[in-house]
C-alpha cells in the first residue's frame, strides 16, 4: 500500500458524489472531482450553474449535504477543528475582492498570519511586503483599499491570501468585476502563481488564461460537471451540446 501511494500523485482536493441543496433547489448534483497537487483547474459554465457553490464548498463557506469532500487529506465535516485547519491551507480570491476597507493594504495582509498563525508582527509584515512585491504593489502598502484601482485591489487580495502560505488557492471569477484594461495585470499575477506550482481551482471565463496554465477545464451546467478535458480539446472540440452552445456564446459571433 505504501508503494502504491508513492507512485500515485498526491490528491489535494477530492470531491465524491457531492450534493447540495438550497432549500428545495438542487444546486450540486453528484459532483466528482480529483485535483492533484500542483494541478491547475479552470471551471467554467453558464451563470447559476453552481460553479461558485462548488468551490465555496471546498473551504466550507457553503456546507454540502451529501457526499464527501477531502482537502489536503482532511475530511470536511462538522468538526470545527477540521474546518479551521482546512481554511488555513486554502486561500480564496473573490470576484469583489472583499478587502477589509478599514485596514491598510499591509494590515489586510498581516491580519490572518498574526491572528491565525500567531506570527509576530515584524515577521508578518516582512512576509506581506514580499508578497506585495510579487504582485507588484509594494509602494501602496500604507494605503487603504478604497484608494486603489480594482486591478490593484484584486492583486492585494491575492497577496493577502498568499500571506497565509496556503497549499491550495481558489479563485471565484477574479477578473469579472474589473475594467478591461485591468484584467491583464491580475491574470499575469495568477499566471505567475500557477508557474510557481500552486494548486489552483479557478472559476473564470478567460480562455487565454485557461489555455496558458490550465491542466484541465471543467464545464458545469445545472449543478453537474458535464465535461472535463484539456483546454485545447475543450475549446477546440467541445463534446457536449451544452458546452458547444456555451462556447459559441462566450466567443461571440
Amino acid at each position: 500500500m505504501e508503494t502504491a501511494t508513492q507512485t500515485k500523485p498526491e490528491i489535494a482536493v477530492s470531491l465524491r458524489d457531492v450534493n447540495k441543496w438550497y432549500g428545495e433547489f438542487h444546486v450540486l448534483k453528484n459532483v466528482n472531482l480529483d485535483v492533484e497537487r500542483g494541478q491547475r483547474i479552470v471551471i467554467c459554465g453558464p451563470s447559476g450553474s453552481g460553479k461558485s457553490t462548488m468551490i465555496r464548498c471546498i473551504n466550507r463557506l457553503e456546507e454540502h449535504q451529501a457526499g464527501q469532500i477531502i482537502v489536503d487529506g482532511i475530511e470536511l465535516n462538522n468538526d470545527l477543528k477540521n474546518i479551521d485547519q482546512i481554511r488555513r491551507e486554502v486561500g480564496m480570491v473573490f470576484q469583489h475582492f472583499n478587502l477589509f476597507p478599514h485596514l491598510t493594504v499591509l494590515e489586510n495582509c498581516c491580519l490572518a498570519p498574526m491572528w491565525v498563525r500567531k506570527i509576530p508582527r515584524k515577521e508578518a509584515e516582512a512576509t506581506a511586503m514580499e508578497y506585495l512585491e510579487r504582485v507588484k504593489i509594494p509602494h501602496q502598502a500604507k494605503k487603504f483599499p478604497g484608494q486603489l484601482s480594482g486591478g490593484q485591489q484584486q492583486r492585494v487580495a491575492i497577496a493577502r491570501s498568499l500571506c497565509m502560505k496556503p497549499r491550495i488557492m481558489l479563485f471565484d471569477e477574479p477578473t469579472s468585476a474589473l475594467d478591461p484594461e485591468m484584467i491583464k495585470e491580475v491574470l499575469d499575477t495568477m499566471i505567475e502563481l500557477a508557474e510557481s506550482g500552486m494548486t489552483m481551482l479557478c472559476v473564470t471565463h478567460e480562455m487565454g488564461f485557461a489555455k496558458t496554465v490550465a491542466d484541465s477545464v471543467i464545464f458545469m451546467d445545472a449543478g453537474q460537471i458535464i465535461e472535463m478535458n484539456t483546454p485545447d480539446e475543450f475549446f477546440n472540440h467541445p463534446q457536449h451540446e451544452r458546452s458547444k452552445l456555451f462556447l459559441s456564446q462566450i466567443l461571440g459571433h
Binding site: N98, H102, W115, G146
Partner: protein
Amino acid sequence: MQAFITRETLPSLPPPSTLKGPIAWMRQNLFSSVGNSIVTVVLVLGILAALIPFINWAFIKADWIGTSRDDCTSGGACWVFVYVHLKLFMVGLYPESEVWRTILVGAILVVTMAGLMIKGVPFKKYIQIFALIAFPIIAFILLSGGAFGLPHVETNFWGGLLLTLVIAIVGIVAAFPLGILLALGRRSSMPIVKAICVVFIEVWRGVPLITVLFMSSVMLPLFLPEGMEIDKLLRALVGITLFQSAYLAEVVRSGLQAIPKGQYEAANALGLTYWQGMYKVILPQALKIVIPGIVNSFISLFKDTSLVLIIGLFDLLATIQGAFASPKWLGYAIEGYLFAALVYWVFCFGMSRYSQRVERSLKTTH
C-alpha cells in the same frame, strides 16, 4: 458623416471663480430676491425681539453673588440661587470635608478623556486600558471610600451632577459590551442563543425606563432573601444598564446588517475564527457606521437619568428642584431649570460634537 480627429491636447483650466467674502455670501444666501430679503429681515427682527429681553434679564440685570435671596434686588435673574447651592447641585449631600475626592475623580476623568480625545497624545492604548480598567476601580475607591484611610461615604449621600454622571457613565460603559453581545447573539445561527437575545431585547425595549427603575427599587427586594439588601444606587445602575444594552443592541445590529456578506466570507476564508473576525473585521466597520445612533442613545440615556428621582435618588435635576422648593428660595424655579438645562446641554452637545469628530476621522475612502 464627416470623420473627426484632433491633434491638440486641451489644457486643464481652473474652475470659474465664484464670488467670495461675507458680503457676496449674504447677497447670495440672504438677499437673493425680494421675498428672501423680507424673510431675512423679519426673522432677524423676531430673534432680536425675543433675545434682547432675555439677555437683559439673564445677564445685564442679573445678580450673581450673594448669600441669600435678599441679595437679589435688581429684578433680573437671581443667580445667587445657583451660587449658594452650587455644592449641593454638584455633589449632593456628599460630606463637605470629603468633597475633594469627587473633585479628584473629576480631574482624573477630564485628564483621561483629554488624553483619549486629543490627537497626537502618545500611549493611547495604555490610556484606553487605564480608562476602562483602572479608572473605574480608582473612582469607586475614591468616591465610596472605606479603604486606604478614606472614610466610607454611603451612596445615599451621593447626589447632584456627581450622581448624574455616575449613573450615565456606568450605564454607558457597562451597556456597551453587553449591547454588542446581544446584537451578535440576535444574529447567531444557534437558535437558543438567538431566542434568549431576542426575548431579552424585546422585553427591555418594551418597558419604559421609569417602570424599570420602579421594578428595581420596589420589586427586586421582594424576590431577594430576607435580610439581604442591595444598595439602591447599584439596583438602579443594573436596571439602567440592562435597559440601555437592549437599545444599544438594536443600534449595533443595524450596523452589523450593513456590512456586506463578503466581509464575513473573506474573514472566514482567511481562517479567522468567529470572534477574531468579529473583533478585527466586522465590529470596527459596523460600529463606525452606527456612531451617530450610539451617541444618540447615549444622549437620551444621559437625559433619562433624571428619572431616578422617582426612586429617591437625588441627581442634578432633583437637587435643583429640591432647592427651589425650600421655603427660603421659593420662586426661583426658572433660574434652577435654566441652570439644569445648561449643564445637560453642555454634556450632550459635547458628546454630539465629539461623535462628529470621530466620524470624520474614521472616514476612509471606499
